[in-house]
Amino acid sequence: MDILSLFVVIPVLTITAILLLKDTRQVRLVSAFGMGLQLLMAASLVFLYLTARHAGNNDEMLFIKDYLWFKSLNIHYAVGVDGISVAMIMLTSLVVFAGIFASWEVEFLRKEFFISLILLASGVFGFFISIDLFTMFLFYELAVIPMYLLIGIWGTGPKEYSAMKLTLMLMGGSALLLVGLLGIYFNSSPDGNRLTFNILEISKVVIPLPDQRIFFPLTFVGFGVLGALFPFHTWSPDGHASAPTAVSMLHAGVLMKLGGYGAFRVAIFLMPEAAHELSWIFIILTSISIVYGAFGAIAQKDLKYINAYSSISHCGLVLFAVLMMNQTAMNGAIIQMISHGLMTALFFALIGMIYGRTHTRMIYEMGGLMKIVPFLSVCYVIAGLASLGLPGLSGFVAEMTIFVGAFQHPELFYRIVTILAVSSIVITAVYILRVIAILLLGPTTNEHFEHLPDAKWFEKISVVTLIGSVAAIGLAPFWLSTMIGTSLHPIIEKIIALNPF
């Protein structure tokens, strides 16, 4: 058993263990143990990866394992990681770990809840370790489908509507993606050798431009739906608002990153010519996402909606940066994925905890929470500051890198969209500070809230894990950006070979 496959095997084993349990009280312990183990594994993977790189291993992907699966179609179960996927795996295990603790008090159908949650996680892990498009797609869909039950059963508000909308839109994205992947597959070997789904092998061939023009948009939009690309973002506010806490965390924190990661690893890496040619369309769309998401967040009154719109804005920034197609901006895109993943998971965890106490998410119904639940409130402020890009926290590093990278383009078009996108920082500050002012500061408006308890131990574990990571990236971004930077080289080289601007 290779180390990477363990990331799928451990969740599956955890699920099996949960299935065998008779006592539902132990379920969360087993889940926490399994996902804790996963976190340790992720940490050791980071360590192993860095050691291997230090030892001078300059392969594009490390720890490659390849098992032939369907011989006639040349489908493999192939895994391998580079710095980017290692970083994403670390992010995922952090968020899942925190998510388990954030859902410590789920009562209704507890067993099923944790099983679905961990199933979702295993899909995400599988996606990040795959280097074969078939297995990647398989895991991608596996990550989406438990969402329906998670939101539909344990959600709040118009949960059935939101769950259906989210599932159908995301599956619609994967439908487009499937066509795109088949298009890549049948162009993967122009000189008549065996067709392949292996990303590394496909990246060595040049797919004919007319085909790229058809399949690049399909693939990019397919992933873009999950990355909340305007105008396919509408599932996101409803879905996030209705989902239970841990699911919002996982979804905004990790699942939306599948979109960004896929757009960059599959769509742009394998079809750079079309990406370069068509990027202006998608840059306009992502700029709309960024600005529109931020304005949307100002207009909302529900905490979860505010965050969902802010996620649209931030995830738009990821796709925006990826489309800039240069080293700095792409580096920023990856850091932004990690940073936003942690930050938004933190936000949703805190919102869940506040909602669990006040039973409302409407900001105008609350006030002065700082005096009542100081721990949660301080954490909320930290999350907010990270989100608006305060230096010292992860958001600053990410956004700074992205905007510097984007502005490197000499053409006027890129300059204008970059300036537009930069304006989102100000808008972000508006909605973050507004929420903090209404929600946390000022006098206590509702006397029922005066005796609410502050965070419990499991909530503290959840929150502290995330804050620690956000601060770590903010204070010491260099190890992350080196890890990403070396892995970006092959991709950037491929792009620069095409169009040295």
Binding site: F70, L138, I145, L168, L178, G183
Partner: protein, 473 residues
């Protein structure tokens, strides 16, 4: 011709023997223990299914009227497995008081249809093909009317017999044109004499329409919903899986071996009918309340996806169709198995009745979910692999637009499959179906279906075996 060469017809001979044995057994059986005839038939078919997998010589009989090859054998084996599952699922239902008089007839009729399908698949001549298709259809009409005190059941029987008579007429008309222009009915000779003559194309269109009735391809699908709803659930499941599968198999063989010359023509035909079938089947399924009608329309749309494997005329296409039918047998019979279990226990067949089912019968709900996800093509269950290969086969020949329509259709289908999942898991109910324990036969059949749904996808060996036996135009 020595007696040994008859062993090429092993499947058919064994099934005929089994049918006779069941008849004879009925005469000598103790009338108080009638229900054990079911067990007897199940065991018989089980043995035949196992024998079917033993290696067998390929060859032809009766001067090429009957052909046996690895491809055709695996098709027959797949049908055997499906019928065996239907047999096991019928066990509880046949124990009911009103059916005790007709147990052996039930098995006799089903085995006869299976014999018909086997002859149909092995046909090397349009005459054998026609006899097979009739033998496969007419007993089904009797079975549809099996609940003779129910109006709907009688109606289903008469609808099925009338529409299949019409379709046979259309089919025969087409065959007469083919005979008139080529002067032969042997597959191999028709293939060599076929050209782009307009009368021949017309003959082909009539032939295709006749087959489209059997597979319920739009616009020849109108009989499906009523017949499916009126028939007893077991027969509905049989119709939607086995009959359809067999008809697809032979259509594929004939398209690939008899009509390769006019491939451009049938590709256009399939292109249009496939889009219509998927879309209309899906759109109608959304509105259904009765689960049998629901699954009927869902199976219409499934036929549309299956056509995607035919359109390319490639080896991968044939492999993916055979593979998909196998997967489809497990998935659809899994879904029907749950419907049968609940229908036997409570008589309820509407989606609303399933509200809150997970609270009372978690295992049945999980199996239903798994089966529906497999039908929708959600990983990691087998349906995902099946659909993926079908789409790959069409994409291999450049039908990307068709694949796009098909994948968008899977999203529509996911919507209505999720409606059932939602009823079971999310909706609350005042009076949910009370907890019940189904008997061994039901659980056994469902167990096989679940195993099939889970294993068929991951075990790549199954697909590879099928692919090695397949061929293209």
């Amino acid at each position: 011709m020595s007696l040994g060469t008859f062993l090429i017809m092993r499947h058919e001979l064994l099934l005929i023997a089994a049918a006779l044995l069941v008849l004879i057994a009925e005469i000598f059986w103790n009338p108080d223990k009638k229900s054990s005839i079911s067990l007897f038939s199940i065991v018989l078919l089980g043995i035949i299914t196992i024998i079917g997998f033993l290696p067998s010589p390929a060859g032809s009989l009766f001067g090429g009227m009957y052909i046996s090859s690895g491809t055709r054998l695996i098709m027959k084996n797949i049908l055997n497995i499906g019928v065996l599952l239907v047999f096991i699922q019928s066990f509880t239902w046949l124990k009911k008081e009103e059916n005790s008089e007709k147990i052996s007839e039930y098995f006799l009729l089903l085995i006869s249809t299976l014999v018909g399908m086997n002859f149909m698949i092995s046909a090397g001549h349009f005459l054998i093909f026609y006899i097979g298709i009739e033998l496969a259809t007419i007993p089904i009409a009797a079975l549809s009317a099996f609940d003779r005190y129910k109006n709907k059941s009688a109606e289903a029987g008469i609808k099925l017999i009338l529409s299949s008579a019409l379709s046979s007429g259309v089919l025969l008309y087409g065959l007469s044109m083919i005979y008139g222009t080529t002067g032969t009915l042997y597959f191999s000779e028709v293939a060599t004499h076929f050209g782009n003559h307009s009368l021949q194309i017309l003959g082909f269109i009539f032939f295709f329409s006749g087959m489209a009735f059997k597979i319920s391809i739009v616009p020849f699908h109108l009989w499906t919903a009523d017949v499916y709803e009126g028939s007893p659930v077991n027969i509905t499941s049989y119709l939607s899986v086995i009959s359809k599968g067999a008809a697809v198999f032979i259509l594929m063989i004939i398209l690939f071996t008899v009509f390769p010359v006019i491939m451009a023509t049938w590709q256009k035909t399939i292109f249009v009918t496939s889009i219509l079938t998927m879309t209309i089947g899906n759109l109608f399924a959304i509105r259904q309340q009765n689960l049998k009608r629901f699954l009927a329309f869902s199976s219409i749309s499934q036929a549309g996806y299956i056509l995607l494997g035919l359109i390319g005329g490639n080896q991968l296409g044939m492999a993916s169709v055979i593979y998909y039918i196998l997967v489809y047998i497990f998935s659809n019979l899994g879904a029907f198995g749950v419907v049968i279990a609940i229908s036997n226990a409570t008589g309820k067949e509407n989606i609303d009745d399933y509200n809150g089912l997970y609270q009372t019968n978690p295992n049945l709900s999980l199996i239903m979910t798994l089966a529906l996800f497999s039908l929708a093509g959600i990983p990691p269950v087998a349906g995902f692999f099946g659909k993926f290969f079908l789409f790959t086969a069409a994409a291999q020949k450049g039908f990307f637009f068709l694949v796009l329509i098909a994948v968008l259709n899977t999203i529509i289908s996911l919507f209505y499959y999720l409606l059932v999942v939602k009823a079971m898991f999310i909706n609350k109910s005042e009076k949910p179906i009370s907890m019940f324990k189904s008997d061994f036969s039901t659980r056994f059949a469902l167990g096989i279906c679940v195993a099939g749904i889970v294993v068929t996808g991951f075990a790549s060996i199954i697909f590879e075996v099928i692919r090695n036996l397949s061929f293209g135009v």
